[in-house]
C-alpha cells in the first residue's frame, strides 16, 4: 500500500469522528474505531500491528486476536511513555532494586528471582486505561485507541508481597513507588514513575519474567515487569528496575496529572465543566469484545455464524455473555469456554446464529460479572476528559448477502 495512503487511512477515522461534535457539550459515546490499517512495518519481535508511534512505541492488537483467551506475544499491544528504551539489557547484569523504608535493601537478579522465591503462574488481562478511547465524543485527550489496547497472557514470576517480605517493611511503610529503565530524551523530564498504597497491594501482584511460556518480548518489558491483576495497566511498569518503599506520598507527575477520572458518583464530567477533584483509575470494569466477525464481513444467508470474543472483569469472574442480533430486543446466552484460566483472565465465548435476511446486521455482545456488574450500552457511557474506562456493549455490523 502507498505509504501516504496508509497514514491517511490509519488516521482519517479519528478526524472524521471528531468533526461535527460540539466541544463544549459531551456528545453521545459511540464505539471505538475498528478499521485502522495494519502497519506494513513490523516492530521487533512483533508481527505487523496497528501502529500509532515509534518513539515511544505504541502498537495496537488487531481485533481478531480476541477470538482466543490468550493473546500471542507477537501480537500483544505495546505502550511506552518514554522513548529512550535501553538498546541492550544484559540478562546477567540486570538488577531490580528494592529500597527505601525497608529493613534490608535488595538488589535482585533474574536468577535470584527464579531460585530464591516461590514461583507463581497467573493468567491475567492487561488493559490500558485508554483502551477504546476513540469511542468518546467529543474527542478526548490521548491516543485514539480502538479496542486493541489490551491482551491476556499467562504470566510467571514472583509475588511482589514475597519480595517485600524478604526486604522487611518498616512499620510505617505506606507507599510503593515503581520505576523502569525507560527514560525521556531530556534529563529534566520526569521518569514514568508510578506509586500505589501498600494497603492496596493484593497477593496477586507479580514481578513477571515470563509471558505465555516465553521470555517477555522487549517491547512488553523484558526482562521483568510488574503485573497487578484486576487493574488498568498504567502502573504495570516495564523493565522494572526500582521499587521504593516510602512513608509518605511522593509528588509524581505521572500520578498527579495522568490516569485520573472525576471523583464523583458518575465518574464523569462535561468538557465545559471539568470536575476539579479527581482520583486515579484503578479497578477495571466488566467488558467484552467481539473478535469475529469483523466490521463489514460479508456472509451468506443461512451460513451459520459462530460469533467469538472475550469477556473479563476485575476478578470476580464472568457470569454470562449474551448476544443480540436485533438491536437489543432479544438476547441469546453465549457459551463460555470450559478452560477456566482463573478469574483475572479473558473468558472466551462463542455464540451461534443463522442469518435469515439479506442486508446489514449488527451483532451485540454484553457481559455480566459475578459481582453483578453489567456492561452498559455505549450511549449510556458518560464522558471523562481522559477518555478512560470505556466498556460499552460491543457492536459489529456485517453484511448478509443472498
Amino acid at each position: 500500500m502507498e505509504r501516504r495512503d496508509f497514514f491517511k487511512k490509519a488516521m482519517v477515522t479519528a478526524g472524521s469522528v471528531a468533526l461535527g461534535s460540539s466541544t463544549l457539550e459531551a456528545s453521545e459515546t459511540t464505539h471505538p474505531v475498528d478499521d485502522r490499517a495494519i502497519s506494513p512495518i513490523a516492530f521487533p519481535e512483533k508481527r505487523p500491528m496497528i501502529m500509532y508511534s515509534d518513539r515511544p512505541p505504541l502498537l495496537e492488537s488487531p481485533r481478531e486476536v480476541f477470538t482466543s483467551a490468550l493473546t500471542p506475544n507477537d501480537l500483544f499491544f505495546v505502550r511506552w511513555h518514554m522513548p529512550m528504551i535501553p538498546k541492550y539489557i544484559s540478562t546477567n547484569g540486570f538488577r531490580v532494586k528494592v529500597d527505601g523504608h525497608v529493613d534490608k535493601t535488595l538488589s535482585l537478579s533474574i536468577e535470584d528471582l527464579k531460585t530464591k522465591f516461590k514461583q507463581v503462574e497467573l493468567t491475567s488481562v492487561l488493559q490500558c486505561g485508554g483502551n477504546s478511547r476513540s469511542a468518546f465524543h467529543p474527542t478526548t485527550s490521548g491516543i485514539q485507541w480502538g479496542a486493541g489496547a489490551m491482551g491476556c497472557a499467562k504470566w510467571k514470576g514472583v509475588r511482589l508481597k514475597d519480595i517485600l517480605e524478604h526486604a522487611g517493611l518498616k512499620s510505617d511503610a505506606t507507599w510503593l513507588g515503581f520505576n523502569g529503565k525507560d527514560k525521556a530524551v531530556y534529563s529534566e523530564t520526569a521518569n514514568f514513575i508510578r506509586e500505589m498504597k501498600l494497603e492496596d497491594l493484593n497477593d496477586n501482584a507479580l514481578l513477571a519474567y515470563e509471558m505465555n511460556g516465553e521470555d517477555l518480548p522487549y517491547l512488553n518489558g523484558f526482562p521483568l515487569r510488574l503485573i497487578i491483576p484486576g487493574t488498568y495497566s498504567d502502573s504495570w511498569i516495564k523493565m522494572i528496575s526500582n521499587i521504593t518503599v516510602s512513608k509518605e506520598k511522593n509528588k509524581l507527575l505521572f500520578m498527579e496529572k495522568a490516569y485520573r477520572i472525576p471523583d464523583n458518583e458518575c465518574e464523569c464530567e462535561t468538557p465545559d465543566k471539568l470536575v476539579e477533584k479527581t482520583k486515579p483509575i484503578e479497578k477495571i470494569n466488566v467488558n467484552s469484545i467481539i473478535g469475529y466477525p469483523q466490521k463489514g464481513s460479508k456472509v451468506r444467508v443461512n451460513s451459520h455464524i459462530v460469533v467469538r470474543g472475550v469477556a473479563f472483569d476485575a476478578g470476580s469472574g464472568i457470569k454470562s455473555v449474551q448476544m443480540s442480533v436485533d438491536n437489543g430486543e432479544t438476547w441469546k446466552e453465549a457459551i463460555l469456554d470450559k478452560e477456566d484460566a482463573g478469574d483475572f483472565a479473558f473468558r472466551a465465548f462463542r455464540c451461534t446464529f443463522n442469518p435469515s435476511k439479506v442486508g446489514k446486521l449488527t451483532i451485540m455482545c454484553k457481559a455480566s460479572s459475578n459481582a453483578g456488574e453489567v456492561q452498559p450500552l455505549a450511549k449510556e457511557i458518560k464522558w471523562n476528559h481522559g477518555g478512560y474506562r470505556y466498556n460499552g456493549v460491543d457492536e459489529v455490523t456485517i453484511e448478509v448477502i443472498g
Binding site: 479519528a14 519481535e45 501502529m51 541492550y88 539489557i89 478526548t140 525521556a184 522487549y218 507527575l253
Partner: protein, 102 residues
C-alpha cells in the same frame, strides 16, 4: 571452541531475549503537512517523540493544542521558546484542528 560456545549458549538459555545483539525500533517517517510553521513544528516536537504521537490525538481545539504545548514545556520541561510555542500552537490548530477555539 565451538563446543564451549554451545555450552555457553545453553547455560544462558534460561533467560535470553530472542533478539541477538542490540534492539532497535524502526524509524517511522510520519508525513508532515507542509504549511506555515512546519519546520518549527518538526524541530521542536521531534526532539522528544515521534510525530505519530500528535497525529493520533484526533482533531482538537485551539485551547487543547495550547494546553498540550504548555504541558510539554511546564511538565515535561521541553526547551521550547515562547516564540516557537506560538508558531507550533498555530500550526497544530491549523493542521490538526477541529475549527473550534475551545
Amino acid at each position: 571452541m565451538k563446543k564451549l560456545l554451545m555450552i555457553g549458549l545453553l547455560s544462558l538459555a534460561p533467560l535470553m531475549a530472542q533478539i541477538e545483539g542490540d534492539f532497535t525500533i524502526p524509524y517511522i517517517d510520519f508525513p508532515v503537512k507542509k504549511a506555515k510553521g512546519a519546520a518549527t513544528y518538526q524541530a521542536n516536537c521531534m526532539m522528544c517523540h515521534s510525530l505519530g504521537y500528535i497525529d493520533n490525538q484526533g482533531l482538537q481545539s485551539k485551547a487543547f493544542w495550547k494546553g498540550k504545548v504548555e504541558k510539554m514545556m511546564i511538565h515535561f520541561k521541553a526547551p521550547i521558546t515562547d516564540q516557537d510555542a506560538k508558531t507550533v500552537i498555530d500550526y497544530l490548530y491549523a493542521n490538526y484542528g477541529n475549527g473550534k477555539p475551545k
